[in-house]
Symmetry: C2
Subunit: 364 residues, 2 copies
Amino acid sequence: MNVTRVAILGAGNGGITAAADLKAKGFEIALFEMPEFGGNLDGIRKQGGILLQDTKGEAFYEVDVVTTDLEEAIRGAQIVMLTVPGFAIELFAGQLAPLVSEEQVILLNGAAAMGCVRFVNKARELGIQKEFKIAETNSLTYGTRAFPGEARVELSLRVKKLFFAAYPHENSKELLAVCSQIYDCFVLADNIWHTTLENGNPEVHPGPSLLNAGRIDYSEGEFWLYREGITEHTVKVLRAIERERMAIGQAFGFQLEDAVQSRARRGYFRNEEEDLQTLFNTSEVFTQIKGPHSVKSRYFTEDISSGLVLWSDLGKAAGVPTPNIDAVIVLGGSLLDTDFYRDGLTLQKLGFEGYTFRKLIESV
Amino acid sequence: MNVTRVAILGAGNGGITAAADLKAKGFEIALFEMPEFGGNLDGIRKQGGILLQDTKGEAFYEVDVVTTDLEEAIRGAQIVMLTVPGFAIELFAGQLAPLVSEEQVILLNGAAAMGCVRFVNKARELGIQKEFKIAETNSLTYGTRAFPGEARVELSLRVKKLFFAAYPHENSKELLAVCSQIYDCFVLADNIWHTTLENGNPEVHPGPSLLNAGRIDYSEGEFWLYREGITEHTVKVLRAIERERMAIGQAFGFQLEDAVQSRARRGYFRNEEEDLQTLFNTSEVFTQIKGPHSVKSRYFTEDISSGLVLWSDLGKAAGVPTPNIDAVIVLGGSLLDTDFYRDGLTLQKLGFEGYTFRKLIESV
């Protein structure tokens, strides 16, 4: 399939950046946002496009279609790319599933949170039995910040390597051939368990943020996780969570990348040689990121509820103990008066309750 | 028994303060320190006594005996009072057990860490079969800071209420009658499980300190737990640990005091009506306390290893789940590269392995 047109759903940091970047690469672009967030499109509509600023300079790119009409957005697109937070997957799935064709490739571009399964489950719930062509990555293809009102993007990194898997995994090679036409950074993952376990956020955000919760409160949001929160000792908890994640991966048959490798290969760290704390404390991309501003931020809520909770469940399925992951889930829950085990993303909620470990692996 | 002479072992904050305060009350005092810490006594020897400063003014008190000779220290004393950190119990027990008589009352004055049992176990290990008269409190009788070099004490609080229990508990009333001659703040606890569960430190120190670990590192010790570390959200973790402690107490048959009650009744908080965070943030005593200066401080190490680990074990024995306590033990351990479950104070190490819950209660 020859890709000429891409529909981008979600006009946040990722979507606005992708619209400009893919336009720069010569694709026709439709940028869609839900009507209730349609204000995000006003600036771009007014300017007729997006100003893309990166390390090399800046350029303005017109966007072909800017719309809150989903049908219009996906018309004629070979790839329908979702750049939305994990919690919005079901919302978008509910609207997109009835409209998308079995030929169009749905690409979930962002931190992996079992979006493919959740998309298909939502469609089935609505009685839609299409064979979706759907795939996901382990992280967003950009390090970026968008200013929708100014129709402007500050792009700090085009990510150099990301894992990619289709659901079911039998489709991975076919869909990779399609999606590689718009991004050259994708490498084939075994399946979406693999991309899920290569999502870096649940390892880096909730643990170190938890170990700075008092400071986040006390400073009233004047906090910089990567500059001041990744320290000699908090990094040890990060590493402990990492050891558990990698042990789960090993039980699944994956040799996962560690925190240094994955960020260096994606382009966030300058090398793989220095120690993790130094690399975070000095990363040109990460040190520009302020926050989390509050313990109610997604660094706690989302990365625990749809990250660590699922990893903990995968650990149980694989027979791998996850004491540090569980400790963050428990203390994060107490901090926020939330039962993350109850509210979070579990194998049961994904429809895999009671599966043997082998069946679990083969189900995706 | 009429108390006229008290031997105070350990010349730290508690011991130096007690020497002056009990002298002020008219008792003969011997102040002892281990030879290796004998430097703590130099200032007092030089001045011949201690300057006691409290809210009402200051006064100088001579101390009758200042010594590194343990036999000399305890000679003629009706009460031998240990004011030493939990980790030093076995060290002092090893030297005191052969010398102390069965008539002398040994009082462990400080944060409870099963000192009575550990003292007796150490004596038995050395083949000493005396029937010790030994008791302990749930906390130190003072809020205070000593400056040994200047032979000076800044006493901010004479504690108003403390729990007191002898080991075995059958001796409690008899020993209370003796020890009440030197302190009027003691009330009878059921037994030393009760004093152990009324030790406030494991509840307040490790959890909130853990939630500020990044800040403690980053600020290089410029940290004030009670002013800036007890916040809207960290206090929720403190409360979660408290709920677990109180549930364990209930299983033992105790109605324990909560964090506000215990500190208000001891005199650290001005009332029991305001919320816990405000009381900590504004306490005249607590807000003067700087630190912890490092994650290697006793707020982490000792209060996890001989506090939370034991509470977790008691929870198991009582059938009470302790997820928050366990989470702090796990993350504190990862932070410090320590296996606190292995190194900490467990029922096994106390000699109670395999006891039924009933036998456990009756053993003290």
